[in-house]
């Protein structure tokens, strides 16, 4: 394990992730292990939600984390926001180690890093107007006077294409569509001008016809303000279009990481390949054939297999190798890494 991560670091130093820009967010071999009580007298189980991940996100860069439920992508996003303290490893933000800084000293970081979550029906207070919801972070962080705040709220609503903003200011969330609600949630995150944004499945509960609009809002914002974005999704097709790099997660491990186009056009890990084949595209020929499937179901992170975490489901499984030890993290083409014994 130790050598693996040293390799990663040297490789990334040699080939900066995103141009020559300094990484804003650095996750260094982070782990999040939770103990799970199985019963009163029964031994505790350890859930390895995130099990040794190294990842950097540069200013102006979007990194997509793709994976199925239980892959640890949400936990990793939360670690990067310090909503979860890592069990091991370090989290650096703008060069500063925030891994174990007490919450009371994180106020400035909380202003610079923001999040948008999956469910716009749960994340907005139904008893507050759109104006109050978007203004709240400014009030909490004591930014501006009343007029300045009102102006920033209008700007934020305009940025998320809730136009004209005046029409939305006094509305309550229940009178908005799912897509409009999610844009209010994004406006609330953007009103603080964050340098780092974690978008955790921001469009999975939004109608298909409105998804691209929301992702384009984030992309525009990034181009204007140089925001670093961690885009967490199960939808690898949107990741292709809206992220610079894609990281594929499986059971708490990063199994592949590379430029978005390369991961899609030249997938290296067998899991990535199967994931890509499982994506349905609208084609009337589909119904005439069987979908290719990934056999079995993802095992629980409370019971991870030894060696490569994917080996029990892998069509390329090599007995004696894959289950013996974890594969090393290797760079196969510039910036494109994989952890698999095939390489």
């Amino acid at each position: 394990m130790a050598t693996t991560h040293e390799d990663t670091l040297t490789a990334e130093r040699a080939e900066p992730a995103f141009g020559d820009r300094e990484p804003l967010v650095q996750l260094q071999d982070v782990k999040a292990h939770f103990t799970l009580r199985r019963g009163i007298f029964v031994s505790k189980a350890v859930v390895k939600a995130v099990d040794g991940i190294t990842l950097e996100i540069a200013r102006g860069e979007t990194v997509a984390l793709v994976g199925e439920s239980g892959s640890g992508k949400t936990t990793l996003g939360r670690i990067s926001l310090r909503l979860i303290e890592p069990t091991e490893g370090r989290v650096l933000f703008d060069g500063q180690d925030i891994s174990h800084v007490p919450e009371g000293q994180l106020l400035r970081f909380r202003r610079r890093a923001q999040a948008v979550f999956q469910d716009p029906y749960a994340s907005l207070n139904n008893y507050m107007t759109v104006a109050q919801i978007v203004e709240e972070p400014l009030v909490i962080h004591k930014i501006g006077n009343r007029e300045e705040r009102a102006a920033r709220v209008r700007e934020a609503l305009d940025a998320v294409r809730l136009r004209p903003p005046e029409e939305f200011l006094s509305r309550f969330p229940h009178r908005l569509s799912g897509g409009q609600r999610q844009r209010v949630a994004i406006a609330r995150a953007l009103v603080l001008d964050p340098e780092y944004l974690v978008a955790d499945e921001p469009v999975s509960m939004v109608d298909a016809s409105s998804r691209a609009e929301i992702l384009l809002v984030l992309k525009d914002r990034q181009e204007d303000a140089g925001t670093a974005i961690l885009y967490i999704t199960h939808d690898i097709a949107t990741a292709r279009h809206f992220a610079h790099r894609i990281g594929v997660m499986y059971l708490g491990h990063l199994v592949e990481l590379g430029p978005a186009d390369r991961v899609i056009d030249n997938p290296l890990h067998p899991y990535t390949r199967l994931l890509l084949e499982a994506v349905p595209e609208p084609d009337p020929q589909n119904r005439l054939k069987e979908r290719s499937i990934i056999p079995g179901e993802p095992p629980s992170p409370a019971n991870t297999p030894p060696g490569c975490p994917f080996h029990p489901r892998c069509p390329e499984f090599m007995k004696g190798t894959c289950e013996a030890a974890e594969p090393e993290w290797k760079e196969i083409e510039p910036g494109h890494f994989v952890a698999c014994y095939l390489y």
Partner: protein, 318 residues
């Protein structure tokens, strides 16, 4: 031959603000052994349509009318009692959305699947045998019968929900978002299972979904729903390859394609308030091609030939 023929079906709900036009004059035919996908976004009325077909109506129904013919027999003339005894689960069954919440957490799987059998006093050993047969049919082992839902994964629960829908040997199965809560890898497994069941049991499906790509994986015919109406109807080839309605076109363009570098687009705005629908075409406020006539009069579903129907003034020869 069509196993199910729906003509001018209406289902309105009563609310303090006025009636909600959930299903607003829907007509289609479902040929025996085929699958019709009803694709629509939130508020399009697609789930209400499923409930209307099964006559599972909430208390606040304002209007429920039209014609539903199953194998030529008019179902709207049946009393509720007749419908319950002869049609629901026996001829038309439904696998509900969100397998996680449909199953009763404190009842063993087999009793949940066997419920309609036990209600009609089938002896327990026979009911049990039928359940085991169904579990195998949906790709589960027999010993799932004695488990509780929380012991099963999401994919297994979805298979149980399917087995429960099939218990009375229905001819038509309404599938309401059967895979929306599942991971893509499990989704593919369930879609393959649905294909196999359709082939082996000769089932006819109505597949309700918001995901047109997923619908293309199973459906021979597609109906695109918008604000309570079907705006485009045809074979999967017609709707996917020659979409005529601007909404269908927009929906297809909004899907991010894995193998293309073209950015997906979006349809601006939001669907209309179902209590306060705009005059004329219901899509016109979001339509890039709207013109005067769209404001003046609602377009009708017009045949374009070969069964392809479109509700749009662009097809009326401008």
């Amino acid at each position: 031959m069509a196993i199910l023929e729906v003509r001018d079906l209406y289902l309105y709900y009563e609310t303090p603000r006025g009636p909600v036009h959930a299903v607003d004059g829907v007509s289609f035919e479902l040929p025996e052994g085929s699958a019709l996908g009803l694709v629509g976004e939130s508020g399009s009325g697609k789930t209400s349509l499923g409930l209307a077909l099964l006559r599972l109506l909430p208390k606040n129904v304002d209007t429920y009318k039209g014609s539903i013919r199953l194998e030529g027999r008019e179902l709207m003339e049946l009393s509720d009692e007749q419908f319950r005894r002869e049609i629901r689960w026996r001829k038309i069954a439904m696998a509900f959305q969100g397998a996680m919440n449909v199953l009763n957490p404190v009842v063993k799987v087999w009793l949940q699947i066997a419920e309609p059998l036990l209600l009609e006093k089938t002896p327990r050993p026979q009911a049990r045998a039928r359940v085991e047969e169904l579990l195998e049919l949906v790709g589960l082992s027999k010993d799932v019968a004695d488990r509780y839902p929380h012991e099963l994964s999401g994919g297994m629960k979805q298979r149980v929900v399917l087995a429960a829908a099939l218990v009375m040997n229905p001819k038509v199965v309404i599938l309401d978002e059967p895979t929306s809560a599942l991971d893509v890898s499990i989704q593919a497994q369930i879609m393959n299972l649905l294909k196999r069941l359709k082939r082996e049991l000769g089932l006819s499906y109505i597949f309700i979904t918001h995901d047109i790509a997923l619908a293309s994986d199973l459906c021979d015919y597609l109906g695109i729903a918008y604000a309570g109406q079907i705006v485009e109807l045809g074979t999967s080839e017609q709707v996917l390859l020659e979409p005529e309605h601007p909404y269908t076109q927009g929906l297809l363009e909004s899907i991010p394609r894995l193998r293309s570098t073209r950015l997906p687009s979006f349809i601006p705005g939001a669907p209309p308030d179902p209590v306060d629908l705009p005059e004329g075409c219901r899509f016109r406020e979001r339509c890039p091609k709207a013109f005067e006539r769209c404001t003046e009069m609602p377009p009708l579903l017009q045949g374009k030939g070969a069964g392809h129907e479109v509700r749009c003034w662009l097809l009326a020869g401008r």
